[in-house]
């Protein structure tokens, strides 16, 4: 929709400069969320995609995903041999309620910064030990994905800070992963999205059912009872309550999906 209060579109800053940040500014990723709701408090948009950061950079250490990498680019990514967990990429893209046409514009960074419980890029990068690079007035800083998301539509960025990229270590990418998602409808908004990684034990990431990503770590392959116990320890008020599913059901589905993942990776 038209954002009528925007008086300036800063289309291609040479380099995003957090120092010039003013109140009423917003970083513009794909704009698929910013343009989907009225934003009467905003005055300027600072465009990031026009910086043309390389979307996906493979190194020996892992994968650097630019904040401006679109979901479509991520979906089309051909992973180096041995990165078993890369099969999560298209699965996570499909978990977005938005269509493949939204993928063509929506960015990974926008998804992370929007910090919705149902943000599939949050689920993906949190599950794969993602570390964010954040640019701010005092220089760059690093933050683990689960720490970026502090609650529904709340993130840990200070005014003027921006997400530059998220790095997924090769070690995590090499591990076998399992993915489960459920929503109130066959192709709907995620009400619970869990990802497991087979380490020496199991790394389980719980998202969508809870207000922010949670990690459950098991040093050895856990029993069904151990997984149940770990899920049971999630406090009741951690479960998200909105029109996309009741908290009680989300909690129940978290138990169910956790067990399915445990069984698949066992």
């Amino acid at each position: 929709m038209d954002l009528h209060t925007i008086s300036e579109m800063i289309a291609a800053p040479d380099a995003p400069d957090p120092a010039t940040w003013r109140s009423g500014d917003a970083w513009l990723g794909g704009g698929t969320w910013l343009f989907s709701e009225p934003q009467p408090h905003l005055r300027r948009l600072i465009d990031l995609p026009s910086l043309r950061w390389p979307a996906l950079t493979v190194t020996d250490d892992g994968l650097e995903i630019a904040a401006t990498c679109t979901l479509a680019e991520l979906h089309a990514f051909t992973a180096p041999d041995g990165w078993a967990a890369a099969r999560l990429f298209p699965q996570a893209c499909r978990a977005l309620l938005g269509s493949f046409k939204i993928w063509n514009a929506a960015t990974v960074g926008g998804n992370l910064c929007l910090a919705l419980p149902a943000g599939p890029m949050i689920s993906l990068t949190a599950a794969l030990d993602g570390v964010c690079t954040i640019l701010g007035p005092d220089g760059p800083r690093a933050l683990a994905v689960p720490d970026l998301v502090t609650g529904p539509q709340r993130n840990a960025l200070e005014p003027g800070e921006l997400l530059r990229s998220v790095f997924l270590p090769a070690a995590a990418l090499r591990e076998t992963a399992a993915f489960r998602q459920v929503s109130l409808s066959p192709a709907g908004r995620s009400a619970a999205l869990l990802i497991g990684r087979r380490t020496a034990g199991l790394e389980l990431t719980v998202t969508a059912s809870v207000t922010r990503p949670l990690r459950l770590s098991f040093e050895a392959p856990p029993s069904a009872a151990a997984v149940r116990e770990a899920v049971a320890a999630i406090p009741a008020d951690a479960y998200h309550d909105d029109v996309h599913g009741s908290p009680a059901w989300r909690r129940h589905m978290t138990f169910e999906l956790a067990e399915e993942i445990r069984a698949e990776l066992a």
């Binding site: 038209d2 794909g30 009467p40 309620l97 493949f100 029109v243 009741s246």
Partner: protein, 931 residues
């Protein structure tokens, strides 16, 4: 850098913050539609350098230096793109509002995506079709036929507008902006109930571009109802154009008119309003109690509000026979409270209109309405204008479903246009659709029913509480209709109905497909299912035993005679068709952990609303030998234009292409009650058929006079009148000579909607339910319809599929939630789940073989009614599968899981093992009595 649209460079540059959708529309590519403006519906899909995007969430500047392709740029000259052609051939649309976006998406699908349409199309919503026709379009399955002249009735003729729709050229309401257009934006109430103490407009008026602000001080004092009916007095007068009391969050407070939408919005933000917040009530039961805040302290006699002091708009108390005696003679009694939720029409085109004063000084309003003539009537009343000074018209309307049987935008736009003397446009946002228009009436329905061991119904009793929200538009009619056919379809000597329509401080409810029936049918059909189970009688057999048959009185709350007749009767056939279809179904559980069950429900609907529904048709031969048909009824995807041309073409011995239809404009014909109550064919179509039959006789008579042959030797054909042994008087020649001789080449007919007939729908489902997740999977969906003679099979199937899809939405997914402060919690498609392709089952449509003695060529209505039996059939199937009766809609996975878990139904149930039937796991409020 420049902008290039469909290969042509444009000089304009977008504003900062502008999205590509509005930029493209400003450049004249109106095929780019707005369904949501939020990325959810796909109606705005265009290509950027060949990549499809939702233009409403694409910043316009992104198109700089890239090629934009819209639906207008798809065809190669006159040659349609193959996908456009396939959408014509399969008629993959009804209203056509989603079609541009569907085509622009479908044309870019990869083979893998085509193989996975449920996922590939999740960003394209269609509210009309139920997606099967879209699937056939994408898969290239054609349906359109081109029957011979005089034989189009009964065939799949194409909608006249098909080509315009697939090329994006079909004009919808806001696609013709006049010069000098001003834009109106509304400030809406943040409070559920408040008195407006003061409005400071000075800052708003100071915003550059703002022309005027209108508040309650500028609005006419006259009270009216936004709900429109043939009789103005059907609905209580409780509404003002702008009021000094607001009664729900989202009610209009003030209107700002400005040069641009941006300035109008800025003006709205600059208004300073002082409110005196009043106590509010959100629950209709509480609202009826003494001491509840009175929402409309108005005189009952003048406003026709039954009991303003009890917030009660209307009550019905019907008592036939003796229910107490009926229950005494019952062997089993079942009693239950059902709840139906608030759902939204979600027509893809939002409400909107443009109002202006024409050269003759007449107020003219082009609007998205189902009722142009009744809107004129209302505007005349509100602004005290004579009918000849007001013209209301529609072009193509992007879906209605009852939501546009209301005056929700025209009044305030007219106020502004009359005051300012400039054209004024008001286009509602999707959010405003949810917070400031209408919904289905939420109802709480208590049913008690008794039957004898042999399956005979002995007593049926209802208590219905209908929540009409802050205004009474349609409250009365919906209550009566809801308590009408749902009860009348059962032959039962003892019936008692107590029903209440009640105000609350919530967004108003209004007319909605089914008009009250879908709610009560859910309750009654669920109850009949339980009675059958208590008696161990097959639910279909139980119904066969108790349904009305020709000759039986169709009564619900009164024995008074009305004008409903058995013009035909096919309910028995429908029940048989559905029973046989389900019995033949091989579908079984998709795997372990699923429980399978079947469910059936039926619905009766009178073919026409009561107390008169009027239509006129004017048909004439034109000098070039083609015909012009003028009708009052609106086309909003119901397909009536197609059927009208078929009826006329059949009677005139010609082909539909030779009949140009002009419609839904108060300047064209005298009166038309409107396109509601499924009347487009049975009332308006009958007028067209009568006019065509009269014109046929007139043309034959004229030819007889001109050739001095007896009239019975003159036969109208496609090319002309064949006179005697072979001379053909060509139509252009006939026109010329008849006109010279003063012989009429035009005919006019009107109908009054009485007497009325009855139509039936029976729905059957086989479902699998997974207790572990609460998921309901529809394995088989079949609907049998008694629609009389089918005039256009493809369209009939389309109406039924669309109705079923919408009903599946209301049964499983859709719910407008109201927060503790009375605010709509989910006013967007992101949170209000309109069925996507993936959600809608294929429905097999079966038709009863009947011919109606009242409808045109034996046809009956079939647009609202397919909706009505769907939710109870689904709940009955879930009951069959799980043993649990679900009494509240929607049957979302979370709720189903919760109910099954509470009843102890688990995944561990042996797959294929005995399904628990009867009282196991009934919710608390259930009472079952065995005597």
């Amino acid at each position: 850098m420049t902008y290039s649209i469909n290969g042509a460079e444009v000089g304009a540059t977008p504003r900062p913050g502008q999205c590509l959708r509005t930029f493209l529309r400003e450049q004249g590519t109106f095929g780019v539609r707005k369904g949501c403006d939020a990325g959810d519906c796909g109606a705005c899909t265009v290509w950027l350098d060949g990549t499809p995007v939702h233009s409403c969430v694409t910043p316009a500047f992104r198109a700089q230096g890239r090629d934009v392709t819209t639906v207008e740029g798809l065809a190669d000259g006159d040659t349609l793109h193959p996908v456009q052609r396939d959408f014509v051939e399969a008629q993959g649309f009804q209203c056509g509002f989603c079609t541009s976006g569907m085509i622009m998406t479908a044309a870019k699908l990869t083979p893998e995506q085509r193989a996975d349409l449920p996922h590939a199309l999740k960003g394209n919503l269609c509210r009309c079709t139920g997606y099967r026709a879209i699937e056939d379009s994408i898969n290239g399955v054609p349906h359109v036929e081109t029957p011979e002249a005089g034989h189009s009735a009964g065939h799949n003729t194409s909608a006249p507008a098909a080509r315009a729709i697939v090329t994006g050229k079909a004009l919808f309401t806001l696609d013709l902006p006049p010069d000098g257009l001003l834009h109106l934006k509304l400030l809406r109430s943040p409070h559920a109930h408040a008195r407006i103490v003061a409005i400071d407009t000075s800052a708003a008026l100071a915003v550059p571009g703002v022309h005027a602000v209108f508040t309650h001080e500028d609005a006419p004092p006259r009270l009216y109802s936004s709900g429109r009916h043939e009789h103005m007095t059907d609905d209580p007068d409780d509404t003002r154009v702008l009021d000094d009391v607001v009664r729900h969050v989202g009610q209009r407070v003030a209107a700002v008119v400005a040069e641009t939408v941006a300035a109008a919005e800025e003006g709205v933000r600059a208004l300073v309003v002082e409110y005196e917040v009043l106590p509010a009530v959100f629950d209709p039961e509480l609202a009826m109690r003494p001491g509840a805040p009175v929402i409309h302290a108005k005189p009952a006699a003048e406003t026709r509000i039954a009991f303003p002091e009890r917030n009660t708009v209307a009550e019905i108390h019907g008592n036939l026979g003796d229910v107490a005696a009926g229950f005494d003679s019952a062997d089993v009694i079942y009693e239950q409270i059902y709840h139906t939720q608030r759902v939204q029409h979600a027509a893809l085109e939002t409400h909107g209109c443009v109002a202006w004063v024409d050269e003759r000084g007449a107020l003219t309003v082009r609007t998205s309405t189902q009722v142009p003539f009744l809107t004129r009537q209302a505007l005349c009343a509100v602004f005290n204008l004579p009918p000849e000074h007001v013209r209301v018209l529609t072009v193509r309307v992007g879906g209605g479903f009852g939501g546009k049987q209301e005056m929700l935008v025209e009044d305030v736009a007219a106020l502004a246009a009359l005051r300012l003397g400039r054209p004024v446009q008001l286009e509602l946002t999707r959010e405003e659709q949810f917070t400031g228009t209408t919904s289905r009436h939420p109802m709480a329905i208590w049913v008690r029913a008794g039957a004898r061991e042999d399956g005979t119904l002995t007593a049926l009793q209802l208590r219905v509480v209908s929540d009409t929200g802050a205004y009474a538009n349609h409250a009365v009619g919906v209550l009566h209709h809801g308590c009408g056919e749902s009860v009348a379809v059962y032959r039962c000597p003892n019936k008692k109905v107590d029903a209440y329509a009640v105000y609350t401080n919530t967004v108003p409810a209004g007319a909605f497909r089914g008009y009250g029936l879908s709610q009560t049918v859910f309750a009654i059909e669920s109850t009949m299912d339980e009675l059958a189970r208590l008696l161990h009688i097959d639910p279909v057999a139980f119904r066969e035993r108790n349904i009305v048959r020709p000759g039986d009185p169709m009564v619900s709350v009164s024995n008074e005679l009305d004008d409903v007749e058995y013009g035909s009767y096919g309910l028995d056939q429908c029940l048989t068709l559905v029973r046989d279809a389900l019995a033949d179904s091989p579908e079984a559980a998709p795997g372990p952990g699923w429980l399978v069950g079947d469910g059936v429900a039926l619905a009766l609907i009178n073919t026409i609303p009561p107390r008169g529904h009027f239509a006129e048709s004017d048909l004439r031969l034109l000098p070039d030998g083609t015909y012009q048909l003028l009708v009052g009824t609106t086309e909003f995807g119901n397909g009536t234009s197609t059927v009208h041309t078929q009826l006329a073409a059949t009677a005139l011995g010609t082909t539909p292409e030779r009949i140009a239809i002009g419609q839904s404009d108060t300047a064209l014909v005298g009166h038309d009650t409107g396109a509601y109550g499924s009347t487009g064919v049975v009332v308006a179509g009958r007028a067209t058929l009568l006019a065509a039959q009269a014109l046929r006789r007139r043309l034959q008579d004229a030819a007889a006079v001109l050739t001095t042959l007896p009239p019975d030797e003159c036969e109208l054909t496609e090319e002309g009148v064949v006179c005697g042994s072979g001379t053909v008087l060509g139509l252009p020649e006939l026109h010329r000579r008849a006109t010279e001789a003063g012989l009429p080449v035009q005919a006019h007919a009107s109908t009054d909607g009485s007497p009325r007939s009855v139509a039936f729908n029976v729905h059957g489902f086989r479902v699998a339910v997974r207790p572990r997740t609460g998921e309901i999977r529809i394995l088989r969906s079949v609907q049998a319809a008694d629609a009389g003679v089918v005039l256009n099979p493809m369209q009939l199937v389309g109406q039924i599929e669309g109705g079923v899809a919408q009903a599946v939405g209301a049964a499983v997914y859709e719910e407008m939630r109201i927060g503790p402060d009375g605010r709509v919690v989910n006013p967007a498609f992101r949170g209000y789940h309109v069925p996507q392709f993936a959600d809608v089952p294929h429905t097999e449509v079966l038709v009863a073989k009947t011919a109606d003695s009242l409808g045109p060529m034996g046809a009956k209505s079939m647009s609202e009614s397919p909706f009505n039996p769907v939710a109870p059939a689904l709940a009955n199937a879930v009951r069959d599968a799980t043993g649990v009766r679900l009494t509240s809609l929607p049957l979302g996975r979370d709720r189903v899981w919760e109910a099954l878990a509470a009843a102890g139904v688990t995944a561990e149930d042996p797959p294929g093992g005995p399904v628990p039937h009867a009282p196991a796991g009934l919710p608390e409020e259930t009472a079952v009595e065995r005597r």
